[in-house]
């Protein structure tokens, strides 16, 4: 097992370095001079050269990358142009809020998704299956930013049950697990949960249908095992794959939260990205994307290792 983990780690390292190169190059595919965001266009040439040297833009690209990468390894993601604060601190503050939102959304999506998936897989080709499958198509087809707006219209504007935006009564502060803050997370988490709900329902339906078709299930029934006993066998067989899909969905939500965070003014990484894009704050954009992408790579690795550990059917080659 340890050997397998090391092997995966060895495989992931070049991918992680590639990801860092893509993030580094983000600043350089930006049209125009990367300094144009800080300097006025009529700045004297002398000052331009001075700034160029200060930011290291006068060196060859690969030297710039090496210097940047060295700093990143030491936890230095540069300084935000808009606020002047270190990017690492800004991202760290926001990533917790996004993580909470994405985790709650994944748990809701997983619960509903496995329920619909099991119903559809057990009653294959019945109207229940068609209904559950339709719900999962809805989940992956709905533009979630629009769904968020519709939920706000229904539950905030019309019924006035839940707050429309923010993470708490004090607006942009960090989210805390108490009753008041809980009301603020309901709408964004529900909105976010439809995607994993649809994906997991589809996966579980296929898994359950596949397992029920296998001979060992027939054998279990033939020897007189009750429906509950068979159900337990199906659950144990479907669990590793379903859990792996859940883990990956959490990663997709972390990276894809920007639209929902914008709709709900949720103070997370998506909100940060939105601000970075519109203030042309390239270091902040780069740093946030690097952290989220690395998180996704690490999560993929973790899912892979845990799935292999849990599922004896996967060979640890």
């Amino acid at each position: 097992m340890l050997l397998y983990t090391l092997k995966r780690l060895l495989y992931v390292t070049p991918v992680a370095i590639g990801v860092s190169i893509v993030c580094f190059l983000l600043i350089h595919i930006t049209p125009g001079d990367p300094l144009s965001a800080i300097l006025p266009s009529d700045a004297p040439l002398e000052l331009q050269m001075q700034m160029r040297a200060a930011y290291g833009f006068d060196k060859p690209l690969w030297v710039q990358y090496a210097l940047w990468f060295w700093k990143v390894l030491h936890g230095d993601l540069g300084t935000s142009i808009a606020t002047g604060r270190p990017v690492a601190a800004e991202v760290l503050r926001a990533v917790g809020n996004t993580l909470i939102l994405a985790t709650v959304a994944t748990l809701i999506g997983f619960t509903l998704g496995t329920f619909f998936g099991f119903v559809a897989g057990y009653f294959r080709d019945s109207w229940l299956d068609k209904l559950a499958s339709f719900v999962s198509v809805l989940g992956v087809s709905v533009p979630h930013y629009w769904l968020g707006m519709v939920l706000v219209i229904i539950f905030s504007a019309n019924l006035n049950w839940l707050p429309p935006t923010g993470a708490g009564p004090d607006g942009s502060a960090n989210w805390r697990p108490d009753a008041e803050h809980l009301r603020y997370i309901i709408l964004p988490a529900l909105t976010m949960s439809v995607i994993p709900m649809g994906v997991i329902a589809r996966t579980v339906r296929a898994l359950v249908a596949d397992i029920l078709d296998q001979e060992f299930v027939q054998a279990l029934r033939a020897k007189g095992l009750g429906e509950y006993g068979v159900f337990r066998h199906v659950v144990t067989n479907a669990a590793p794959t379903a859990l792996a899909v859940m883990g990956l969905q959490l990663g997709y939500l972390l990276g894809g939260s920007i639209l929902i965070e914008t709709v709900f003014s949720w103070p997370g990484t998506g909100f940060l990205l939105n601000a970075a894009i519109f203030q042309r704050d390239l270091p902040l954009l780069q740093g946030t994307i690097l952290v989220l992408a690395m998180f996704f790579v690490a999560l993929n690795l973790a899912v892979d290792v845990v799935q292999t550990a849990l599922d004896p059917r996967i060979e640890r080659a």
């Binding site: 070049p14 991918v15 992680a16 590639g18 990801v19 190169i21 893509v22 993030c23 983000l26 600043i27 595919i29 930006t30 049209p31 198509v137 809805l138 992956v140 087809s141 709905v142 533009p143 979630h144 930013y145 629009w146 769904l147 707006m149 519709v150 706000v152 219209i153 504007a157 019309n158 995607i195 649809g198 994906v199 589809r202 996966t203 899909v245 990956l248 969905q249 990663g251 997709y252 972390l254 990276g255 894809g256 920007i258 639209l259 914008t262 709709v263 990205l273 939105n274 970075a276 894009i277 519109f278 390239l282 954009l285 994307i289 989220l292 992408a293 996704f296 790579v297 993929n300």
Partner: protein, 298 residues
């Protein structure tokens, strides 16, 4: 109706060799018998036709507003589907909006289909270190969540329709390349490919006849399933202000500018999103129908 994340490469097996000359004909026949897919196709056709012939279909001018007639409700005598925050006719703008939204949703998948299958077939057929280099680069892009990559690229490139299309194309190339590469690699070692090579067929002929003949079907089905994701993402970029610019009619952008109106005219504000939803679900259902029509053989 898949999203990027739930496609597993190993589920995409090469199709068995072509049974008769009328393979695509029989696929079409099976598709025609699928009522859900046909309804979805009808909806898409209606939206595409309305967008294409917008000047003849739409009742008004998509850019002309009337400050005194802002935010009228649905069912207004003058504006059937209400008016937006600048007093422009919603029905007209929804019809015209289909042009950009469909363009920005479908074009990236089409481009990625061409580039991705070329890359994948090339890497799969040549094999060896070329394959390894291409696929490792693809792996790097695959390591980004799709929404994040789209926003990172278009955020860095700056707002605009071209930049949004380029970003989304780059997002969809890796998954298509992976499918193409995995199917090609499986086909390359088949006996009939070996037989063709022994009997003197050149690489170009083998790729054209044996590889493409088997590979294009699965990739095509997979690509159609990406259109729905692409529609949602493209409109999402416009929603964030990274795609089309005002005053262009585009569903994502319209949804964004109408956000402030949700307390005044909630139903009108929700309309552009409903259009994105209807289009995206239709593409998903049609893609599902196509998938089963191509996999089930008579």
């Amino acid at each position: 109706m898949a999203v990027l994340s739930d496609i597993r490469i190993d589920t995409v097996a090469p199709l068995p060799a072509r049974a008769s000359r009328g393979y695509w004909g029989s696929v079409l026949r099976r598709l025609m018998r699928d009522p859900v897919a046909m309804v979805a196709a009808g909806v898409i056709l209606a939206i595409v036709l309305a967008a294409a012939f917008a000047p003849f279909v739409a009742p008004g001018d998509p850019y002309k507003g009337a400050m005194l007639r802002r935010l009228k409700p649905i069912g207004d005598a003058f504006y059937w589907l209400g008016s937006d925050e600048l007093g422009r006719d919603m029905l007209t703008r929804l019809i015209y909006g289909g042009r950009l939204s469909l363009f920005m949703g479908v074009l990236p998948v089409a481009c990625a289909f061409v580039i991705g299958s070329t890359l994948g077939v090339f890497a799969g057929y040549v094999g060896g270190w070329v394959n390894m280099v291409v696929m490792r680069v693809i792996d790097v892009f695959y390591a980004f969540p799709s929404v994040l990559l789209a926003i990172a690229l278009s955020g860095a490139l700056g707002a605009g329709i071209t930049n949004a299309v380029v970003s989304l194309t780059i997002v969809f190339i890796p998954p298509i390349t992976r499918v193409a590469e995995s199917v090609t690699t499986q086909i390359r070692t088949r006996d009939y490919v070996e037989a063709a090579r022994v009997s003197g067929a050149g690489a170009f002929t083998i790729i054209r006849v044996h590889v493409l003949g088997n590979v294009l079907g699965p990739i095509f089905v997979y690509a159609t399933s990406l259109i729905s994701v692409s529609m949602i993402l493209a409109s999402g970029l416009s929603f964030l202000g990274l795609g089309s610019k005002p005053p262009e009619p585009e569903w994502g952008l319209m949804l964004n500018t109408l956000r402030t109106a949700i307390y005044v005219q909630p139903a009108v504000a929700a309309l552009p999103g409903a259009m994105i939803f209807i289009t995206s679900i239709s593409f998903n259902l049609l893609s599902d129908g196509l998938r089963s029509a191509m996999a089930v053989r008579a």
